[in-house]
């Protein structure tokens, strides 16, 4: 086996590397310590000549390539050799740019560079070029769950891109909530440069267009619609999902899909929880959705109030009804669509009868979207009265009396109304919390915890996807019952690879946003199906061919990997061994970090590849006064922050040796113990922000790492070392000053507590 391997090292002396470092010594290090059979230098390795030099060596049989030049994040197009195992030693951002160019520092700077070369060579020696497993094939079929505006749009978008769609709708008709509306608010803003005149033509009411949308879906040969149907079973992985679609009558169909879009939408908030606003006490207090029904019945004529059919002459809209409130049973969040909806509904009245008194009582008027502000002005133009007031009560004895506090005039006041409309919000249609299911399964029979969980699960909504996953039947939730997805960075991604959430199931939104969402999620689903077909990872390591494997003979069936995987990628077989679903895996390595017996590895990233880097750092004698600090930095945020800091010339002490990791979640405790045993004086771990407003690309990786590291104190104690030698931080990509400072702080800490006694 070893005979097949041929190691080649390449050292770039450009960008000032050659001026600052002894190139000859670097070559010697790579050859002698790094055991590279061939070592070549170039004054500019990233130009055509340099790249050709590397390619020639690969063509000549090199299987493992070590490139010592700039950061692995730079020049990725030039140094792109997918057929070999490649490592990069970061001499530019990692060494010369973070150290001052003076004679007194020359020695330590050179030592830093030599170490990085040793580390990169060691890494190269312990890895393999990744190749796809051949487990997958391409399945272009997309499954869309939900037949509302989001689901229909997602289906049309996918079909238009040439990907056949199966759409599953629980009710007997397409259209969802959109079909219940009389009109919709405008999607486009007023033209640019529209003069601010009182008679300016602002965007107004629009037809919902739902019939057209339904027709398009029904006529599209690429879309198959299943009405009155639900998913009773979903298993597999991107590229090979297998779903069982059951109709109400009990007949089932089974089909295979490449990816899934979950557009299960929302349920209107239950206004029965708002007795203080007279809901349920008077039929003339209605929700915004109920008003749509009244408007539809009126069909352009005067809207009649439900109690006695009298034409409505005055109407009050109560904004944030049961929303943005910490009261029990209320929604703590803003549903984002209701202010615009109230403006729209006030215009229903005004267009029919300009003398109808319409008052919108709001605390903050929020009209998101391009047309929002213009539509607000359209309402004002039509004399809709907007009063900044907080409604405390709607008294329903006799006529309706809305009691509110005027927040501008700071006084309690009230108004009479024929009809009161409550602007109620959206509740996500998600399934039961999969982690509650998991916890229930893991809890001890008869324990109090098990009972609490059982009760919680009994009242949980029914499952939507019925996933046959180790980690529960549905998409994991984040806050307030919405599906977990990163609001800014990766909105459609969920924590189940290849299943994308679109529309109000992931956050409250309006029609236009839902349509945009649908397009985004459909594109992601197509990507996922295509990537799976090629055996490549989905976001965020898109294109990565490596995948985790495990040595079954070493596995103790502890199940930590199957429980901790943030994406529920790993199932268990009947003996309790992990079953990897390659295309469900995001390649973060959290399983690898979890494994106590170190049997999980990727071809190009393993306990060994990092462990060897740690072992190959030269540890000077205790009396040399040259400590060594191991920095394990997340490649998504912390490592680029350090690169950026280097570009801005922020100094880092010469004792630090930075190793990028895929995610802090992949850090195996053995790296910590090994490095301490090898004589490292301090360890700095840098992951991303965790918690509800996480920035971790792998959602839970950083949080899991923090949890594991909280127990590292025991290890330190057993070694008789000071606990401050290991520090775990949350670092953002913008922490240009802070990230280097954290490393320099560790150097100061070592100054205080002294050198590690474990140097040999």
């Amino acid at each position: 086996m070893a005979d097949d391997k041929k190691f080649a090292g390449f050292i770039c002396t450009g960008c000032g590397i050659g001026d600052r470092l002894d190139g000859g010594r670097l070559e010697t290090t790579a050859k002698r310590d790094g055991k590279m059979q061939e070592v070549k230098s170039s004054e500019m390795l990233c130009n055509a000549e340099g790249v050709k030099m590397i390619q020639d060596e690969i063509d000549g049989g090199a299987t493992h390539v070590m490139i010592a030049a700039c950061s692995r994040r730079a020049k990725v197009e030039a140094f792109n050799f997918p057929t070999v195992a490649m490592t990069r030693a970061n001499l530019r951002e990692g060494v010369i740019w973070v150290r001052p160019d003076t004679d007194e520092h020359r020695e330590t700077t050179q030592e830093m560079a030599d170490d990085y070369i040793r580390m990169a060579c060691a890494e190269a020696r312990s890895m393999k070029a990744p190749s796809p497993s051949g487990e997958q094939e391409l399945n272009k079929h997309i499954l869309v769950v939900g037949g509302g505006v989001t689901g229909m749009s997602a289906a049309l978008e996918s079909a238009a891109a040439g990907y056949p769609v199966t759409l599953v709708e629980k009710t007997g008709a397409l259209g969802g909530h959109l079909a219940q509306l009389y009109k919709k608010s405008p999607g486009k803003a007023a033209p640019r440069g529209l003069p601010n005149a009182l008679d300016a033509e602002f965007p107004g009411l629009e037809d919902t267009g739902v019939e057209g949308l339904i027709q398009q879906v029904e006529e599209n040969a690429n879309i198959t619609v299943h009405l009155n149907s639900t998913l009773t079973k979903t298993q597999g992985a991107p590229g090979r999902f297998k779903a069982e679609i059951a109709t109400e009558s009990g007949s089932t169909t089974e089909a295979e899909f490449g990816a899934i879009v979950q557009a299960s939408g929302f349920t209107p908030y239950d206004a029965n929880q708002l007795p203080e606003f007279g809901y349920g006490k008077s039929p003339d207090v209605v929700t915004n959705l109920e008003l749509e029904k009244l408007a539809k019945e009126a069909a352009g004529g005067p809207i009649k109030r439900p109690s006695d059919g009298k034409e409505v002459k005055s109407v009050a809209f109560v904004q944030c009804a049961g929303q943005r409130s910490e009261k029990k049973g209320h929604l703590p969040y803003c549903s984002g669509f209701c202010c615009t909806t109230s403006i729209k509904q006030a215009i229903y009245f005004k267009e029919q009868n300009a003398d109808c008194d319409t008052t919108v009582l709001y605390t903050d008027l929020r009209t998101p979207g391009a047309a929002g502000e213009d539509f607000y002005r359209a309402g004002q133009q039509k004399m809709v009265t907007f009063s900044k007031g907080e409604v405390s009560e709607v008294a329903a004895d006799g006529g309706l009396k809305v009691k509110f506090k005027d927040l501008i005039l700071d006084e309690d006041t009230e108004m009479d109304a024929d009809l009161v409309v409550l602007a109620t919000g959206q509740v996500a249609n998600t399934g039961p919390d999969p982690y509650a299911q998991l916890a229930f399964e893991e809890a001890e029979e008869g324990s109090e915890e098990k009972e609490t969980l059982r009760k919680a699960l009994e009242v949980a909504p029914p499952s939507i996807l019925n996933l046959e996953y180790r980690q529960g039947t549905d998409l994991p939730l984040l806050k307030h019952g919405f599906a977990d997805s990163h609001f800014i960075c990766f909105p459609y991604e969920t924590r189940r690879t290849g299943i994308y959430a679109a529309g109000p199931v992931r956050r409250p939104m309006d029609i236009q946003q839902a349509r945009d969402d649908a397009a985004g999620a459909a594109m992601k689903a197509i990507q996922a199906a295509e990537n799976a077909g090629k055996g490549r990872a989905a976001h965020p390591r898109s294109g990565d061919l490596s995948f985790p494997t495990f040595r079954s003979e070493g596995c103790t069936q502890c199940k930590r990997c199957t429980v901790e995987c943030p994406f529920g990628a790993i199932n268990e077989d009947e003996k309790g061994y992990p079953v990897y679903n390659e295309s469900r895996c995001r390649r973060c390595g959290t399983c690898m970090g979890a494994c106590p017996v170190r049997v999980i590895s990727f071809e190009n990233y393993s306990v060994e590849t990092v462990g060897q880097q740690i072992k190959n750092v030269d540890i000077p004698d205790e009396f040399d006064e040259k400590p060594r600090i191991l920095v394990l930095a997340c490649e998504n945020d912390a490592y680029p922050a350090l690169d950026q800091a280097a570009m801005s010339g922020v100094e880092i002490n010469p004792w630090a040796r930075v190793i990028p990791v895929r995610c802090l979640g992949s850090v195996n405790l053995s790296w910590i113990t090994d490095s301490l045993n090898n004589g490292f004086d301090g360890i700095v771990l840098m992951g991303c922000q965790k918690g509800d407003d996480y920035q971790c690309h792998f959602v839970r990786g950083s949080a899991i790492a923090h949890e594991r590291m909280s127990k590292v104190g025991d290890t330190l104690e057993s070694l008789n070392l000071e606990p401050e030698r290991v520090a775990v931080y949350e670092v953002a990509i913008t922490d240009l000053e802070r990230a280097p400072k954290l490393i320099n702080d560790m150097a100061e800490t070592i100054d205080k507590v002294g050198m590690s006694p474990f140097k040999f």
């Binding site: 601010n196 002005r377 004002q380 009265t385 907007f386 009063s387 501008i408 005039l409 006041t413």
Partner: protein, 207 residues
């Protein structure tokens, strides 16, 4: 005037916003206010106003007719135009303030002892006499507006200023007798009277 006030109150009953929209100069903009409060924050005299512009607009919508028209707030406006420049909705706030003050005056509701209101009346009366403003008499009437004693005190305090103005030919002492005038004063007075009638009629006739 108070007849007109009674008429207007009856006509618009509780919809003061409509009354303002129909009768106050630039009043049709009031409905477009979005209550951001930038005008109130920008007004250099804002803290001396009983109700800053944002609040006035809200009071109009809330139908607080008397509170608005009897307020001295819009009389405090110095026409610095900060609010107009800054209003994100581009409301002509300064003009609306003057429009409201004017309307309040016509309704006979403007606060009598408000100095700007008082001065405006003195200015108007002075001008109506000859069709020209007699500066000397205007100055004196302002000094003596609070009675003889205060008038003498004010005059003594500004004695030196007056002397200097005379020396510089900025004030003509002979204006005290008669003063300069239009050719056809009674024609001018008739014209203004007619204009007034038309305006009142317009207000009453306006939808």
């Amino acid at each position: 005037m108070s007849d007109l006030n009674t008429a207007m109150t009856a006509k618009y009953r509780n919809n003061f916003l409509k009354e303002v929209e129909a009768n106050v100069e630039e009043g049709e903009w009031v409905k477009m206010c979005m209550q951001c409060g930038v005008c109130s924050g920008s007004c250099p005299l804002g803290k001396h106003w009983e109700h800053p512009p944002q609040e006035i607009f809200m009071m109009i919508r809330a139908g607080k007719r008397d509170d608005v028209l009897k307020s001295d707030s819009m009389w405090m406006c110095t026409s610095c135009y900060n609010c107009i420049v800054r209003c994100p909705r581009e409301l002509p706030i300064t003009h609306i303030m003057h429009g409201l003050a004017n309307y309040a005056k016509r309704m006979g509701l403007a606060p009598k002892s408000q100095p700007t209101n008082q001065f405006s009346q003195l200015f108007w009366d002075n001008m109506m006499k000859k069709g020209r403003v007699n500066e000397l008499k205007l100055g004196l009437s302002l000094y003596f507006k609070d009675g003889f004693g205060d008038g003498v005190k004010n005059a003594m305090a500004n004695q030196q200023l007056g002397m200097n103005m005379m020396k510089a030919k900025r004030m003509a002492p002979m204006e005290i007798i008669g003063g300069h005038s239009l050719k056809d004063v009674s024609g001018f007075q008739k014209m203004i009277k007619k204009a007034h009638e038309i305006e009142d009629q317009n207000i009453q006739d306006f939808s």
